[in-house]
Symmetry: C2
Subunit: 347 residues, 2 copies
Amino acid sequence: MSVTIREVAREASVSVATVSRVLNGKGPVHPETERRIRKAAKSLRYIPHGGARSLITRKTSTLGVLMPELYGEFFSELIRGIDVCARRAGYHLLVSSSHSDRAETEEMIRAMRGRVDGLVVLSPDVRPNVLKANLPEKFPVVLLNSAGGRGSFDCLNVDNFGGATAMVRHLIRLGHRRIAFIQGPTGNRDASERLRGYREALRAQNGGSFAPLELPGNFREESGYEASRKILELKPRPSAIFAANDSMAIGLLCAFQERGVQVPEDFAIAGFDDIPIARYITPPLTSVRVPISELGSQATQRLVEAIAAGPERARRQAMLPTTLVVRASCGENGRARSRRLASSGDG
Amino acid sequence: MSVTIREVAREASVSVATVSRVLNGKGPVHPETERRIRKAAKSLRYIPHGGARSLITRKTSTLGVLMPELYGEFFSELIRGIDVCARRAGYHLLVSSSHSDRAETEEMIRAMRGRVDGLVVLSPDVRPNVLKANLPEKFPVVLLNSAGGRGSFDCLNVDNFGGATAMVRHLIRLGHRRIAFIQGPTGNRDASERLRGYREALRAQNGGSFAPLELPGNFREESGYEASRKILELKPRPSAIFAANDSMAIGLLCAFQERGVQVPEDFAIAGFDDIPIARYITPPLTSVRVPISELGSQATQRLVEAIAAGPERARRQAMLPTTLVVRASCGENGRARSRRLASSGDG
DNA sequence: GAAATCGCTGTAAACGATTACAGCTCCGGA
DNA sequence: TCCGGAGCTGTAATCGTTTACAGCGATTTC
């Protein structure tokens, strides 16, 4: 169907080796020969076959990205960070959002063999041993926010625990005593770390004097929206609600607005992630800033290094700090500080 | 480095052909032999090399996606639509956000040769002939919102013009007479079609009685934010502002809120795209709904069909309708209608 | 003047799979 | 006994590249 190096060689009356040499700029070639070859390549509209090339060079110039899904700003930001860094290093991106059942996920991972030079895996629920079982030995992988895998894989984590405790302490400082928490999906490590931070901070403050108020959620807007009903039924009511991520906080905010509940007057609301819209909604959302796109770039950076270093490289773990971002949704001095646009913009 | 089919064959004391037959379920193989081979494959943790396989089968099971960038909800939604459909059809996604200069874009397109079976291109600014020059003859491509390419490529467009005129007419119906427009980036076809719709609708109404009020923009939030200054300086002031996309409308809204300008009391604001957050901001944004994720899936669907149909397929053009979504940001009866959550959820 | 070097080019072996073809064994039917 | 076919398996070509190696004039070096 499409033109190969052989046809270019024939057209220019040389061997394929010489064509390859010219097109890759390797080895000495007579200028006149080179001219003939370039002309032939151009007139035939020759395009090298990447698959064939990578078979022999053992380089695909492609990085695999494995994610649970592609919905929402978090993933879009993350992918962007990965993309920027990958491109800078000369890599393409093979993206795969992983799937409901484990078999499908395994299939995805296996399908990457021979197509990518390394893998970035955001797998709060994909177990590292599933990875290990379905990848060639010593394959370069960087794990994002994953529970285990120490030793076998490079890991990059976000300080979810620290961020959550900081937020709860902030709310306590503002005078809140009954603080509810909307949880993330069970089994998700980010979610469980944030929950742990919430509990820990409450316990430290109260000496366990009253039970934490925990509501179920799944990181989607809808679940925040739905939580509103339960919250309004609670007796006594909490004065602050801390959602395990921004999407749920936004859903909750939306529900409150529809019912005429005032924020921050009736309830203080806080989220987690500081996704870009967080500062655009009304009231702007107090949140914990996670350097999402930086998380992506750093992981990619690490992966690129790991590929370059070869199989005997050392595995590394790192943790990215989170920062409290105070805006108007929790009242107090939030309003003043929220008066900036895109100030903490992300690289 | 990693185990090949040859090693499995040796381990099971058979030829590579038989191993291949077993693993692909083709041809008759003795049950006992099959058992031995499966055992060997498992114990060696054999994973087929996708690149090698696709070289001989001439199928990569991968679709290429070319985009101008990855920032913002529009692209995230679009990719999601593409991903859902691609996965259903058994394809992976090779994503490439295209680049500043044309040379880089060309390089990207060429690099896809031999790695993908087809291409989805969102290229309001990549010229179709650039594509033609850098792709094998008759390569399956679906163009999204692209100007030319009729005949050579399948095209899928969104009714930008119709959406923009509908919005302007809506504003006029609400009583607005001075309607400003924040433009998108020059050279972008979506942007220019929306501008054309704005002008056309104004002209139809006024018989050209006064000049349109057009402000520069680039589809980013910042440019909407910056437009606020110029708008407040206009004399006489417009009563409504129509931004060429939602991001800019949100930036503008944010700027107004900081300055204490009331929406919709002081200005009516409208956007375009109806990205998911549009309904969560305050006031909820009146917009033109573009079925973004559906745009992605339909393009992918078409691409998959085109690949199956082979090189002699017919090229097709299609246009997706847009719909006016009335919310509170333009006042009037918007408030009532905006009282729903995620009602027009996408796929 | 022979040997070594240099510049250029071609031959052929990889890379890791799939698959057409042929060969072998075994069985049943003529 | 011979033949045909079925069932199973192996040999080798193939996909489109890269690259080690060798070959071959022409030039330089001793």
